[in-house]
Structures are given as C-alpha cells and as structure tokens.
Point group: C2
DNA sequence: CGCCTGCCTTGACCCAGATCAACCGACCCG
DNA sequence: CGGGTCGGTTGATCTGGGTCAAGGCAGGCG
C-alpha cells in the first residue's frame, strides 16, 4: 500500500488532487475518475460547526487543511471530545443517516467532500474502498481505545503530556522533521478544548502546561507555540511504554 | 438485513451453526460452505486469558457464549478495560498481525474461530463481508466514544449506572424480556473488573453500588444478581439523554 | 471441622483536581 | 481612545473519589 509507508505523511499522491485516503489507495484505478467528478470542497472558519450531532449528514469526506473536533455533550453542558481530526482524516459514516457527534472546526478548515449516496454506491462496486475504510476505522478504534486509557487511568500531567505527543506526532508528519531533535508545533486547540479532550477543567490544563514548562519538559513561545527539546522525555511524562507493536 | 432486526438478539440463523455476524449477513450464499469448513470452536475457563497484547493472533472469531474483556495495562499496573464482549461480538483485526489488547474470559467462554489468513482471503473475494465488518467496527467505535464520555465526564454514581444500563441492554437481548418491567441480570464482572471498565477503584464501585441499592434504584440478590425495578430511573441516574438518533 | 483464598463491604483519612474568583494581555469595534 | 470580549493564568478553598486498613462471607480443601 503506497500511501501507508510513511504512515502519517501528508497526502501526496502524484497528480491526484483528492486528499482522501479511502480513495487514494486506488489512485491508479478507473474508480478515480468517478470520484473526481463527485468531489467538492467546503471551507469553514475557526469555531464554525460543520454538523450537529443528530442532524442528517448527506456527505462523507476528509480534512484537507486545518483541524476539526468531534464532541459529545450532555444536557447539563458537560462535553467530551471524542475525536480530533487532522488533514487526511476521514469524516462520515457510510451506511448511517445522521451525524453522531458535533463536528467543529478549531482552525480554518478545508474539507474534500463526496455526497454520501453515490459514495456508498461506489463502495459497493469497489471492494477495495470498503476494505480501506475498514482499516481506517480500525485505526480510529485503536486511537479511541488508547484515549480511553488516558481518560480512565492517567493523571492530569500525564494527560497533558499524552495530548502533546499525539499532536506532535500528527503535526510533525505534516510539516518538517524536528530540527536537532527540537520538535515544535502550534497547538490547534484552546485550553478549553484540550480540557474537553482530556476530561479536565481548563484551569487544570493551564496549570499543568505551566508545570511542564517550569520543569523544562516543554518550552512555550506565546500561548500556542510549543517546543519540545526532548521528545523521549515528553513520552516518559505521558506514561507511554515504548511502542512494541508488530505491524503487518 | 435479516439478523439486524432484533439488533442484539442472540444469533439464530436457521440451520447455520456459525454464530458470526460478519458471516451471517450472507447465510444464504455459497460463501457459507467455505466458512463452515474453516471454523472451529475454542473454550476458555473464567479468568483465562485468550491472547496477550502484542502476541501474534492468527485467528478472528466471535463470542458464542460467555463474556470476555479487552484490557490495556501500563507498566505500573494501572489497567483500563477498552472492550466488553458479549455473545455475537467479533474479536480480531483482519489485516493486523498482533493482538492490540489482552483478551480475557470473565466467565466460561466459547468462541467460534476462523484462521485469519483464509478469512482475510475470503474477505477479499466477498465484498459483503468487508462491508459487514465495516458496519460492526463503526458500531464498536460508537460504543468506544460513548464510553469516553462516561470516563471523562461522568461521576462515579453515573458511571456505575451507565455500566448497568449497558449490561442490562445486552443481557436483556440474550435472555427473556423484562417481567413486569422488572429487568434482571447477573453481573458478568467482578467489582475490580467494573472498576477497570469505569476508571474507578473497586472500593468506589462497591460503595456506589451500595448507594444505588440504598436509594432503591436497584435491588441485589447476592452480590451479582441485579434487579432493576425501573429502567428509566436507572437511565436517568446514568445521565443519558433519551435516544434521539436517526437510524438508516 | 477449621483454615485459607477470593471477592466484597465499610470506615477513616487524604489529596488531586474541581470550583470560585481575580486579574492579564491581545484584539476588535464604536 | 475607551470599553468589551476572548483566551489564558494564577490563587484560595472545597470535595469526590483514592488510599489504607479492618473485617465479612462463601466455597474449596486438607
């Protein structure tokens, strides 16, 4: 699978303009031209809501630029983020009528969309697409389960460090490699959104970020730009055991 | 889809002995005979581990009888359950070499298995199976995200009530309908396993169960048999807003 | 029978993180 | 330029749930 090699690399699929991983696995096939005709772009401003939970959602698509979140809210206002979407991430649920969660842009956002019905029909006639979507959904499921460990068992400091490693990994893959091991990136989330990600309050997020800064685990330029002098140190803080998975 | 109608009903697919939802959607096809030859059963005692995280896992399958859990553990022993498997639930990751989580039987367990390689090959030649697996994986993802809200934002009491509603719903579908609205079931988990599910300690689980009993939300016979006199009341305690989803 | 082990309960105390509140700086807009 | 809003920080205090500790009860076994 060509596009899996640098697993989190930005989409760059020759002259195929569709930043859609489900599709890109088949860039070399005839199906592409069908999708080429189907696709359209949508832009959103930071803070704008793409769809509300429960609303009919007549498209699927993927993030081209920017960051979006999936959130769930209780009647009394408690909210929990359940998904964090970076460029190349897929949005939508083939075979389901409605959106299950609020989808919100946290920065200016560009999505590449396909109307759901024709996309579903294409899926039925193109077995590789369903398989590709299955793999992507399994990835999302793994991410969700990793996140459950963070939510259920980690301390506030570990939670912050975990979030920073996730953003660093995603962001690093989109931009340049670390310069002399000094990884850096901009936080695409407000303190409040980070709190909703981690099941904390925004005050605790702020305090723990200050603490990590005080302890030299990270450096800050302004409120959003983070410099990580030692990524291994950050991972330790996150309580992650070093990756020992066996890939296919 | 024939087998989705009573969505959580025990598998009962005419004379097809394979309790495998991914397959059952195609009971009427030729593929069945292939699977019939491929399948084999495995039994485990309560407490036994089916596979360890990271181990090679050369089969996929589904739970026929009993309950199993997926858990994740940090080096220092903190553990978080990330999946709770009832009869008809699928286990395994087509296309992935290793198990991502510990799979453990919490009661005597019977699984219907297929060797992974031939199953994957069958998937490639049988598009409906990949699509069925995609739908099942989307269901799991929804469950995981619902659970994230529980872990991140609910109080201990709400967590316990949430778990009880989940078990009640799954169990009720496997056994008899509630008698006069008095739903009842046996807890398939120890207090410690419930704690690992909910990101709590076993003492807190015990205390909150006692509190729900004291307040008349549930009744107990012994330590494991739960009677729910009023399911709506239990759902309120769980903080669930009544389901307003729009199914396909 | 008595002992042990696994599972569960309850009490007393403590602390990480929530809550409440004051304040800062950047930005926008009239 | 002044006032308002938004996002963020920090301090003081409170509390839900963790921690530590002491039993209780049922089942298995010598």
């Amino acid at each position: 699978m060509l596009y899996d090699a640098p697993k989190l690399a930005p989409h760059d699929c020759g002259d195929c303009p569709i930043r859609h991983r489900a599709v890109c696995a088949r860039c070399d096939s005839d199906e592409l031209s069908v999708l080429e005709e189907m696709k359209y772009y949508r832009s959103f401003q930071a803070g704008q809501t793409v769809v509300w939970a429960g609303d009919r959602m007549d498209f699927v698509g993927s993030v081209v630029e920017g960051v979006a979140t999936l959130t769930q809210t209780m009647e009394d206002g408690r909210t929990q983020m359940v998904g964090l979407l970076f460029p190349s991430d897929f949005v939508g649920r083939p075979g389901r009528a409605g959106a299950a969660y609020n989808v919100t842009a946290t920065s200016d956002l560009v999505m590449c969309c396909f109307r759901k019905r024709p996309f579903e029909q294409m899926m039925e006639t193109t077995p590789h697409v369903a398989q590709r979507l299955l793999q992507m959904t399994l990835d999302e499921l793994d991410a969700a389960r990793e996140w459950m460990l963070v939510l259920g068992r980690k301390t506030a400091r570990e939670k912050i460090a975990s979030l920073l490693t996730i953003i660093a990994r995603r962001d690093a893959s989109l931009h340049l490699a670390p310069v002399e091991g000094r990884l850096q990136f901009d936080l695409p989330l407000t303190r409040e959104a980070m709190a909703d990600y981690l099941g904390l309050t925004l005050e605790t997020v702020s305090r723990q970020i200050s603490a990590l800064k005080r302890d030299g685990v990270i450096e800050l330029q302004g409120k959003r730009h983070v410099i990580v002098p030692d990524f291994d140190r950050l991972q330790e803080e996150a309580g992650d055991d070093s990756d020992g998975g066996l890939p296919e």
